[in-house]
Structure formats: structure tokens, C-alpha cells
Symmetry: D2
Subunit: 340 residues, 4 copies
Amino acid sequence: MKPQAGDADIARVREKIEALGFHAHVIPGEQRTAIGITGNSGPIDPAEFEDLPGVAEAIRVSKPYKLVSRETKPDNTVVAVNGVRVGAGKPVFCGGPCAVESREQILESARAVKAAGGQLLRGGAYKPRTSPYSFQGLGEAGLRHLADAREETGLGIVTEAVDVETFDLVERYADCVQIGARNMQNFSLLRRAGRSRKPVLLKRGMSSTLEEFLMAAEYILAEGNYNVILCERGVRTFADHTRNTLDLSVVPAVQSLSHLPIIVDPSHGTGKRDKVLPLSLAAVAVGASGLIVEVHPQPDHALSDGYQSLDPAQFAELTAACRAVAEVLAEKRFSARELH
Amino acid sequence: MKPQAGDADIARVREKIEALGFHAHVIPGEQRTAIGITGNSGPIDPAEFEDLPGVAEAIRVSKPYKLVSRETKPDNTVVAVNGVRVGAGKPVFCGGPCAVESREQILESARAVKAAGGQLLRGGAYKPRTSPYSFQGLGEAGLRHLADAREETGLGIVTEAVDVETFDLVERYADCVQIGARNMQNFSLLRRAGRSRKPVLLKRGMSSTLEEFLMAAEYILAEGNYNVILCERGVRTFADHTRNTLDLSVVPAVQSLSHLPIIVDPSHGTGKRDKVLPLSLAAVAVGASGLIVEVHPQPDHALSDGYQSLDPAQFAELTAACRAVAEVLAEKRFSARELH
Amino acid sequence: MKPQAGDADIARVREKIEALGFHAHVIPGEQRTAIGITGNSGPIDPAEFEDLPGVAEAIRVSKPYKLVSRETKPDNTVVAVNGVRVGAGKPVFCGGPCAVESREQILESARAVKAAGGQLLRGGAYKPRTSPYSFQGLGEAGLRHLADAREETGLGIVTEAVDVETFDLVERYADCVQIGARNMQNFSLLRRAGRSRKPVLLKRGMSSTLEEFLMAAEYILAEGNYNVILCERGVRTFADHTRNTLDLSVVPAVQSLSHLPIIVDPSHGTGKRDKVLPLSLAAVAVGASGLIVEVHPQPDHALSDGYQSLDPAQFAELTAACRAVAEVLAEKRFSARELH
Amino acid sequence: MKPQAGDADIARVREKIEALGFHAHVIPGEQRTAIGITGNSGPIDPAEFEDLPGVAEAIRVSKPYKLVSRETKPDNTVVAVNGVRVGAGKPVFCGGPCAVESREQILESARAVKAAGGQLLRGGAYKPRTSPYSFQGLGEAGLRHLADAREETGLGIVTEAVDVETFDLVERYADCVQIGARNMQNFSLLRRAGRSRKPVLLKRGMSSTLEEFLMAAEYILAEGNYNVILCERGVRTFADHTRNTLDLSVVPAVQSLSHLPIIVDPSHGTGKRDKVLPLSLAAVAVGASGLIVEVHPQPDHALSDGYQSLDPAQFAELTAACRAVAEVLAEKRFSARELH
């Protein structure tokens, strides 16, 4: 739609789409609103829409993904998580422990994350674990502890939903619901996330291609939730010096194909504490919209993933260093996102 | 337990385990019964059990997987699906279309599979699809068509459950519930499958290690369902001459670590019709307990996966050729399972 | 050329090709002779050749590989190594130690290989080693020991040339010169092998695509040596239960694109002794023209690769089991090569 | 050795090592000299050396790589290429075409690289090509053109040696001899490079682990050439949105294990022009000592790799942006190399 298009213009286009038996997806942007069409089994004549008032142009999307495509919506999507704008230019920092272990642990973590310049708090109340005998998270108690941490620090909460059964509960407490790498193609969970009003953080699957990653996001948008943040967290390869191989090239690749913001998880992406800072700097330099980092008050006492968690001082160093890189790139207009 | 151990002996061991606050898993075998213990947080003294009547020996399992381990149960598990014994020596053949498309299509497929020497019928009523806009299966109608096909042909039904929500329905109609590769680490679904009384066919995830594969099965056994059939269906690599890279070495690797039977899916494993027969022969020769193959009355008209589906004549050739290989290996006692 | 085409017909075609400024490659087959043309920078009119006497048809090859292509030469190539015909139908067995360690060791190995039904002897006199400090082979002394073993047992010798410098020496002693996986794209070495009169065994590189593999063979044929045997030896993936992931699907894939024979190395392909037999059976069943297997008189005392070497009794079991599988497939005309 | 150790001290240690029958490797550093010992088959008592004058400490190296190890030489190695110091802190920029195509093309490229702030000129006179029918480089003529370009612009020359046969020639013209990814385990070529007096740029193989990469460098150092620059150029994975997957985590991983400098090739690492800038920024941010980038006066007319080559203006933007990132990290002492 044109920037000056009004609600009536949008409603008119929507009605026309629905009258043709298709689904209309109104995706609001910073400047302009995009309206996606799905449900058609063949091509639609653009001319049917271009004459309607307020319509800028009708574009036939040539990709298997429609709503996530930059063809559908050329402007960057900015996703607000508890007031923190992800995708708006400055990198956003989300820190916190792998799992919520106790009220004290998460409160202490939250204070440290905030003091270190973090804006969002991560922490799992439900943990997907390779072994049925491993600690599976505190469940609703963990969610309550997270809410307490938000109340005290003001940090927005990012926490994972591992299944449809517990989604309602997670959604009630979270500011942003995470879908983990193992669930990237759990289509029922994606559809449930699509019916949520909360933003969704979607992690790339361990052996997901770029197209599969975008199609997974498409499942969420197709249900009406357009607030999706993508996250690169490393892929599985033969390389054994890191736990996963962090594929930073996917950041500009997503940015050229999609309007959705993408952040990076250097903690799972490397699996080694001493690699988190250099790869965080690289992630910001490549143009990521933020970082999600494992931070623990006492990494060596963490119940899970301690070997890849930073302590608060290291996280403070990380946010400062990354912000310095982001600023120099922004000042000189060297943002990768603009240049490529 | 010793082969001659009676129900009272088993009950006595179970009571003792529970009295200690642990979980007892009675896993019946062809010759002997194994009893697994989970829920302990440290080692248990074997001597506590070895004096009980009927106990053959108490083994400390040194692997992260317990119940699926051959250490726990040295004898092969045989899983009966509608009377067809998987893992009993002779390879079992399961054929059918990717998706149930109509009553007529699945009935025609079932007749062809039966005529070609197949013993089980596959076909998806719920399909996990990369795109939200692709055909997602007929749902319960598809399950009913499968039941009709069973009634007419006597073939047991193998069909996929894609989520917990529809599991009850799938379980009601299926003789064996399939968990797909994308859901191999959908732990809620695995736990639900573990509470089912139906056998489960668990496919290896696209980038799953052997240990992760066995741990996924462990989730099912840990809930009390010991009738699990594993399935290799190809893994994701750089190689581009097949859709996936079929990793046949995982068959003897599973057999040496676990008592569970493993079959092979050469259709997804290669993604190319002309590679299905040679890789099926290889799968039987390597010692697989069966094959699950896409067969369609008119492959070129299939709604999905037609390019990798066999027509009935090709499937008949496949079952005959594979049986010939299995027989010569059995005759000469060259079964890979025994030799290695 | 037509089956009845004579030397004069062939000479006439060759002259015409050369008169046009191109290179002619006369590739003799069992039934018919193929003549490849390279050196042209654009398409050539087939009609220019189809009127010449003895010409069956002129085919424009649509692949990047020309001389290795089945389009150029539809009949299977049979490569004779010291009288042993590789690619003629029956699987050929090549056994022997990773490295020649002493005269006695290789003589003992050769006797064991022969007694176990092997037809060719493998053993490295020059060893490519990851570390500069590891044993690099006995060099010419090792070649002499191999020649002694041939003299005593009559087994043909397959041994590796690791560089152009030592190629002459290896060529003088070997019946078949091996190019290892690490050298699959050592183009100078490939060209040198192409100027040899000895057959060449070319191993697939660790992360080589099918096209790269065939293009590497093309380098050898382009220099005039048409006696090339390809060898699958496992590729590098994330999977960690075997040293490499044996990609048996490449066997029928090569067979449909190329006339060259392909064999399988289950020793490097799995890296584990107890996986060698089942994967050997699978390799024969999938249609491989032979196996190259590490066999050592005392595997546990081998200087290299002992953990993946068979002892003589295991190798005897392997050849017998594989021959039984090959026979049943041949009897029933179930050869994968014919069926697919 | 201690910083103040003199030539006599070094000579005394060297003599002692040789008297024991081992090889001594004197590796000069900026501050201190390290002396590596190879050729021993078992451990040596450190006390034998620690009493000698000038010896700081004797360390037993616990890695399979000895001379490349930071245990052997704790200080960073700085490699001077035509006066340009690689590894000294500031990132070094090497640009130029994939292949030397003509005198004019390489002169024009050299002027553009220089004008854009590049310090070294790349360009292949010998090209390893997948197909025997592709352009294989201009050979010695190409080397002469490179020398002309050096004479005119003062840029040091980095060019590839593809085999031992042509190494002498390449060495005569080059300021730094490149060993390509396909030759990373061409051990004869590595040994030849080890006997060269020119610095060597060693590219990581397509599926090389970190350990194999360092062992390949060890081959060069073991022959006495300690001026080795490592280069990450992407590894082969399932991901298909880039030609290779650039593994930036290997940069800090190399830096913690080895004293050798490591640079990054974002051109081969991504294979796409529009990904070169963002990944270059990331490479500098992660701590790489430089970049080697494909630059062509008219990328769309390049004989090879044009789709991944930058034009001169893009390269100028790249060097400026990367220098800005490097400066901000240096100013704030946020160098990844120091922090981790």
C-alpha cells in the first residue's frame, strides 16, 4: 500500500481478496502496510488490485515463501519485545542462563544482564533435553521466577515453548516465545505460535537450509502472527573444534530475501566460552539485529551449558565491544544491510 | 532374568526396585525378560538384586541410554505389527504411497503391495510439509481409508502421527505409529508415543547422531512402550546426487548397541526411483530387519514424492530380489547380525 | 563405432577429428569401440561423422565430463589388472595391509589374501599421512617386497602413488596405481596417471561430489589412459559412529552416468573392523564391481589402521559371503546394474 | 629462549639437540626465539635443556602438531610479504582477480587494488580447475605479468603453486606462494613449500578439521619454513545459500592453538559478490589478520569466478569499512585475540 493509504483502503483490498476466496494478511510496517495473499492455487492478475485506491503495486511473489518475503514487504520488520525494538538498527542484547534453576539464580542473572547493558532476559523453564533422565526445567515455577525478574529489572523475557500443551502457559508469562532448533519443523507448534499475540523467536534447525528456515517462519506468519525474529545458532557439520558451525553468511542472506530481523546465538553456535566474544563481534559486524547469549552468575555451577556461558563481567565486555562496532558501522553508513 | 523365571520372580524384583524409590521397566523378550531400572541418581549395588530368585545377573549400564541398550537386554527385540514380526530374522516389507490421496488410491495401493509380497501398508493421513501451503493430508478420512485397506487386504497399517493433538486418532486406526524424522527430537510427541500400546516406528533425524537416535528411542521406552522399531532414512550431507545420504553403517551400529530392530527407508534415503532397488538390496545385505518403500499405483500422478515412488511391478521385483539375498545369507549363516 | 567396424574405419574417423584440429580418444570396449572428441570449443555437427563407414552414431555429450560418460561409450568398461577383470560381472576382491611394513609381513599377507579367495593384493609403499612425523612407508623397498609377493602368489599389485616424483617408480612395480582420496583433485598427479599405461584406481575425495569425482577421472582419460577404476571410500559428515560415512548410493549413480567400473573400500569407509563385513555385503548387493579391504596377518600389531583391518579368517568369510550374494543376484538376473 | 639470549646460546641449544640425534628448528620471533625439537620418538627430559644459558623454559608439547603450536612459541608470528607484515595487528588486504588473464587485466587490477587501499595483489597463473577442459592459467607468462604489476605498483604478489614441477617458477616470481584448498594434504607439495625461502599462504581444505589444517602447516614448518599464513576459505556443508560455509570460528580457534597468523577469503568462502562485504567485516571483527578478496576491473567479463568478484569501488568500500572496525576494536583494546 502507499504510505498515505488509510484504513478504508486497506479494508477494501482485504475484502476484495476475501471475495475471491483467498486469505488476506495485513502486515503493518514502519512506513507502509503490506497485504499478503495466500490460498490461491494459481497466479492472480496484478491488475485486479492495482487500480484500487491506496495500492502502490501488486507483486507476484516468485518464492515458495510469500509472507516472509521481501518481495511482499520491502521494508524491514521491527519487532517490539517489551518495548525493545529488534530490527530497528541498533543491536539488541539478550542474556541469561540456559535454564531457570531457582528464583535467586534468575534474579541474580537478570540484575547482572541489566547491569552489563542487556535489554532482554533469556532463561528456559521448559528445556528440550537429549536424555529423558536430564533436568527438564522448573516448568511454571520457572516462568513465575522469570516474571519476578522482569518486575524487578524491567527486562523483557524470552523463554522457550517446547510443545503445544504448555504453550498457553509460556505465552502468558513471556514477552517473546522461543521456538528451539529441534522444533523448527514442528509444524503444529509453529501454527500455535502463529496464533499467539506474542512475538516469536524462531531458531534455525541444526541442518536447516535457508529455504526451510524461511518456510518455517512462513508457517507462523500464515496464521497471522507477523512478529517473528529469526535466529542463527550454528549448524551441524564435520567440524569438531566448535559444538556447531556458526553460519554467519545466513544473516545477510536472510536480510536480502526477507523483511524479518535476524539475530545470532554465539553460545550454542560455538559451544565454547572463549569463542563467544569474537563470534559476537563478527555477528554484529555482519549485520545481525542482536545477540542472544548464555550468561550465568557462576558459569561453573550451572546445571546445563556452563562451559559455554559467560560470567557477568565477560557479558559487559561483550555488549560494550559489540556496541562500539555497531556504532562505527552506523556512523560511516557501513551497515552491511545497506551496502549489499 | 533367567529363562525359567516366573511371574512371581519378576514381581519380586519389580517390588524391590520400587521400594527403593526407582522405576522398574519389565521388557519381555522371546527367551528371557529384562528389567530395566531408571530414576536412580547414582550407582546401585548389583548384589542387591543378584540374590533374588530368578535373577540371572545385574548389569550396570554404562551408556547414556539405558532401556534401549543391549547391555540391559541382550536378546533381540521382536516387534509384532498386526501379527508381522519385525526383527525376527526374515526381512519385512512395508510399502505404500507417501500420502493417502483417496479411498480408491489407497485400496489400489494396498492390493498392489499385497500382490507384490508386502506385509505392511504405509501411507500418511497427516503429512508434515515444508510449506504451509502444500497438501497436508486427508486427516481422519485418510485414516478411515487405511482401515478399509487393512480390512480388505489384511495388511497392517503404518502411519504417521505429527503431533500430540492428533495422536489419539492415529493410534486408534494404526497398527504401528510412525514418528517422522523432523519430529525425532519432539520430546512431547515421543513421550506420548511412549504411553501408547501400539508399536512405534521411529525415523532417524536428518542430522541425528547414533547416540541422539538411541536417546530418542529411550524417551519412548522410558514411558513404558518397549515396541519400538528404528528406521534409517538418510542423513543430510553435502552430496547432491541423492536427496539424502543413506547411512547403512548405522544398521550394524544400532544392532551392536541396542536390542531394538532397525529397518531402512530407501525411498527417502535416496529420493530417486532408480536408486531404490539397489539400496534396498544393500539394506537387506547389511542386515536390516525390513524396508519401508514408497509404492504408488501411478507414481507419475502422485500428489507428493512421485519421483521416488516405485510402481507395483518394481516393488514386486524388489521384494523378490531382497528375499533372495536374505535367504542366501540366512542359509549360509552369513547374517551380518551374527557375524559382526 | 559399429561392432563390425575395422581398424581402417577407426583410423579414418580419427584422422577426420584431428584434421579439424581436435583430439581423438579411441576407447576400445568389449563389443564396440567408442571415439571421444575433446578440444572443441563449441558444438560439432554430428552429420560430419555419421556418413563415415563404420560409424554407428555421433552423440553430442551433454555433461561436463565427456570421455567417462556413458553417452560417449554405452558399454561397461572392463579393466584388466594382472589378468583380473574388474567390471566384468563377478565382484573382484583386493586385500592386504594398509602399509607394507616388511618383506615377511607382505608375503604373509599375500598368502593369506590368496588363501581367502582374494585376487589382488593391496599395500602402501608410500603413505600419505596427516602428520609429518608418522611412518611414511618403506618406499622402493616396499615396492620390491610387493613384487616378491606377486611373484610368489600370482596376485596383482595395487599400490598408491602419492606424487609425480615417485610415480615412475610405483608404475614400474604396480599392476594398478592407486590415487588416494586426498589427491583426487591433485590435477598434476591425475595427468601423470593419464599418461601411464597401467590401470588406475581413483578414490573419491572426502567431500567430493559425484560430478567432481567423474571430472577427476576425466583428467586421466583426457590424457589417454582409459583404464580407470573408481572407488567409493566414505565421505566426511557429522556422523561419528563410523570414521567416514560410506555412501553406497554413489555406486548405482556412477553406473548410470559412466561406463567405468566402481568398487568399494569398506575399511576406510567405516574405520571399524566389525562394520567391514556387513558393509561389504551391502556393497556387493548394491552392485559394486569389487572390494578393496584392509587385511593384516596380525591386525593388532599393524603400524597403521589396525583397528579397521580384518584378520585372514575374517577376510575368507567376507569373500565367501559376498560371492554368495553376488551369485544369487546374478542367477536371478537381479543385478542392480541391469535392473535400475 | 630468553629475550636476551644471544646467537651463541641458540647455537649451543641447537648443537645439543643435534647431538642427541634430533632435529632443531630455530623459529625467530619478534621478542624471543623458540627452538622446536622434532625427530624424537619418545619424551625428552626438559631438565636436559633448562640449565643451558639463555633457555627460558623447556616445554613438552602435548599436541600432535609441534612447531605450529603456541606451546612451542607463545608469541604471535608475523610474516612479512614484500614488506607487508601479516599478523602484526592491523588487517592486511590482498585483492586481485581469480586468474591472470592478460598483462593489461592484471595491471589494471593492480592499480585498482592499490588505489582501493590494498597492500598485496593476488592472481593465479596456474589454476586448479575441476574440468581438464577449463582455462588452466597463463603459466609463466602470467607470472611475468604479475611481476610487471609489482614493479609498477609496489604491491607484493601472492600466487598459487599447484604442483612441485612448477613450484620453482612460481617461487621465483611470487612474494608469497599460495597452496590451494585442494592441495592442503598434498604432502609432497607441502614439503616443497617447506624448503622454500618464500612465505607460504596455506588454505584450509574443503572438509579439513582444525587439527588436519594445523598438521598440514606442520609439514611446511618441519622442513624449515616458518613463514606460514593460514587462510579460512569456507568448508563444504549441506547449506546451499552460499558456495561454501565460511567457518569464522576457526580464526580464534587457530589463534589459541597456534602462533601462526590466519586470514580469511570471503570470496570463495561465500561465492556470492553481495555476501563478500558483510563477511569481510565479520572476519575482521572476529580477529583475522587480513583478507584475500577477488577483485576484477570488470567482474562480469572475468574468465572465472566473476560472480564472486568485487569491482574496484566495492573493494575500496570494503577496505575502508574493515579498517574502521579494526581501529575501533584496537582503540578500545577489544581485539578478540587479546580478549579470549
